[in-house]
């Protein structure tokens, strides 16, 4: 197929990456196929299920609804980039595991990225706020009860780890801008 392609440069999980893509290549396909980051899952291709959510400059976006060229020059964080550089899991990762907030796990990366960003905005959510925060993500296995529990637990772990910027933590704002070696 002779199709015009574009060079894009972006930071993914702290690492500078480049790809050559046609203008209509979805960010989700670029991440999964061009960059080999298969942790971002595609469940509906319509922006409904939320499984493909990644963070673009710290804000959640549906990578199936965005063209890869639109991410040129931006910073993308996928589920693979949530953990700290030394491999320490992000509080949301710990909490989802601990609270059995996942079963098949296919929707999980979308929940994790959404919740990671949400807790940056709202480090001490009420249960009602936690429920609302994940209202745009589908899970077919759990019935969501353990997921809500995991969100609240993640907030707790996060505060305990002193990562809450409001508690004076020097960590940068924006969910995950840690450098990867």
């Amino acid at each position: 197929m002779n199709e015009e392609t574009h060079e894009i440069r972006l930071r993914v999980n702290g690492v500078p990456r480049a790809a050559t893509v046609p203008a209509r290549r979805l960010l989700s396909d670029c991440l999964r196929h061009d960059l080999g980051l298969t942790g971002t899952h595609v469940g509906c291709e319509h922006g409904v299920c939320g499984a493909c959510t990644v963070l673009l400059d710290g804000r959640p976006v549906r990578s199936c609804l965005m063209f890869a060229v639109g991410a040129d020059g931006h910073e993308v964080t996928t589920v693979e980039g949530l953990a700290a550089a030394d491999g320490t899991p992000h509080p949301v990762q710990r909490a989802f595991r601990e609270c059995h907030g996942l079963q098949c796990g296919f929707c999980t990366p979308g929940f994790l990225t959404v919740v990671a960003a949400f807790l940056e905005e709202n480090p001490e959510p009420t249960e009602e706020q936690a429920r609302e925060a994940i209202g745009g993500n589908l899970c077919r296995c759990t019935g969501y009860v353990n997921i809500v529990r995991a969100v609240l637990r993640a907030a707790e772990l996060r505060r305990a780890a002193g990562r809450d910027p409001q508690a004076g933590d020097p960590a940068p704002r924006g969910p995950v801008r840690r450098q990867r070696p």
Partner: protein, 801 residues
Amino acid sequence: MASTSTRAPVGLSSVTRDGIGASPRRPDGTLKVTGEFAYSSDMWMEDMLWGATLRSPHPHAEILGIDVSGALRLPGVYAVLTHEDVPGEKRYGLEYRDQPVLAFGKVRYKGEPVAIVAADHPETARRALERIKVDYRVLEPVSDARRAALDPDCPLVHEEGSLPLHEEHNQRGNRVRYQPIRTGAFADGASVEEVRALADVVVTGEYEVGMQDQAFLGPESGLAVPAEDGGVDLYIATQWLHVDQRQIAPCLGLPADKVRLTLAGVGGAFGAREDLSMQIHACMLALHTGKPVKFVYNREESFFGHVHRHPATMRYEHGAKRDGTLVYATMEIVLDGGAYASATPAVVGVASSLGIGPYEVPHVSVDAYGVYTTNPPCGAMRGFGAVQACFGYESQMDRLAAELGMDPVDLRIKNAVSQGSRIITGQEIDMPMPMAEMLRRAREMPLPPDRSSLPAPSDPRTLPGGVANTSHGEGIVRGIGYGVGLKNLCFSEGFDDYSTARVRLEVVGGEPAVTVHTAAAEVGQGLVTVKGQIARTELGVERVTILPSDTRVGSAGSSSASRQSYMTGGAVKTACEAVRERVFALVRERGLVEDGHPDALLSLSGGKVVSAAEGVLISLADLLGGEAIEETREYHHRPTQMLDPSRGQGSSHTQFGMCVHRAVVDVDVELGLVKVVALDAVQDVGKVMHPQQLAGQIQGASAQGLGLALMEEIQVHDGVIRNPSFTDYLIPTILDTPPMRIDVLEHPDPHAPYGLRGAGEPPTLSSTPAIVAAVRNATGRPLTHAPVRPEDIVGIDPPQG
């Protein structure tokens, strides 16, 4: 849900951790939260090709010719295959071998695979599909399942003589299976009129259940890799590796041992992966091209790529004495199986045998039909057959209670089955069945606070319609409803769905370690965790590795029918016991106990061999040294019987499970919107293996039942699915899902390992009728269709077409 606590043996500081009854973390949890867990859609090989499927645009048509030359000319296309290229058997099927690998002669549903392509890029493959020319002569669809069941003049979906006949199922014409059941006076030939005369009160009802989709989040995908021995290795998300292998190998013309399957990561299943999707297609293309071939369906294709829950129409009549005692019941159910049989015979077996539910009724007549139509094929979905019937019989119980002026819970308690009761097939419930207690407990659970006592009762987010801001409290009515479901667990009707486990005990790095190998499919339910717990409990070793599931070990049966904790759990337990016996034999051999020392006094705990009398005898590390002990065992449940084809009698089920739900809803009676405020469950699971995972099963199943009650229906018109996407087929989000309280009982089943009962399905049955009953309670509307639609609540005719 108390966890099992055993006393630490003499000489040991603690018992083995993370055994059964505890809630250890799932072993795949870390990979699933880091994004490293490899789902079937993540499989990748550098030189792989991409497969794509050309599907029929018509529900029913004759194929006059297929021209693939245009597709073959497209650069990047490696193969275009049709039915002529199927190397072996041209049809496959779970129960009847009636489904073409690729259509020949005619197509029987819209979306049926007709040709397959392998190309260097998914987009090339899709473009190639557009260049395949198929000439069709369109035939009239067979859309009406009732007509297919009952009208001898209905056109046939499968031509006369084209299928092997299954007489034990009364298979004939468009009937995949017809199962009658007759008990009491009906068995003696009495007419309904005669039996009706015995009752004081009679209620009739007609009910419908729509076609539900399993809607797992990870669409169908897999990777087939050609092997040097002429065979093929398939990495696939499925529910039962060996039944896939059994269907794939004959179609490829290969012996089973040349078709090797490994379970890839499964993004949910719920029955939808019990049938084949692209398995044979991927293998055919891989063998044809000599290259690995990967298929990934998108969401729309997924709606055509797997079977759905059978839509059902049901006609019921119940008669009772004035005091509420049930006298008789009749039921007719027609289950639309669509174009191919899939699991339809088993679905009919369940729907008929459990057709009037967990009630003592002396005279019963059931006629259950599963039929071929040219609608999308239907097969397994969580609770199959029992889900549809449960909506019918529970709706009838409420209708009868209203007619009698009785409390619906009291009516159910009055007629409840219990241990020793016989269901309508004559089978005794020979395990605890504390239904009356469960109903009382459900009734006594605390109710959610009244709206008026909420801090912000007019906040739209707490109301039906939510942030759509459709009400600030006006027109909102609260309702409460109950549902009870009886479910068969494990396979029924003579299936010997055994499971196999291989367990190895050895010393690794100075520590005892156990390896467990089965072919059982982890589909999210947490079987991987439970297998490890059983090994820890039985062998007293904390370090347990669960090997990936593949066909290098014997069949584990399906991850369906709530059966894996029972069957594969049973197999792991039995294999561990065999390993343990050999450990004890070694202990005797080494003279650590006297010759006559009974095994019963020995145990394994904390990595040590312990005697009840003498405390720790030796550590496993010292005992085994470099020796490994490995045992493989099959586990079989007790035999079951086919229902007899004329009166439907026979002990067809392995085990029974039950769940009771109470639903509380707020209904906007003007707009027909519903918010489920509470959905609380009481379930007897025999033995809690993993409290946290059990809660996940009950809550997940309840939410799927909520979907069927209020949201989920595949819209099929003249054989065409109108809503094959998540924008048009809606499943519950968290904002649709209430908090779910769970009350778990543990009355052990003496026939089952650890006394456990399968737990994954029963809540899917009872939550739907409980919610619909609550909406009826709020609105006074009859609500005979699941899912309930806004127009049903408001009382206007649904839009036509």
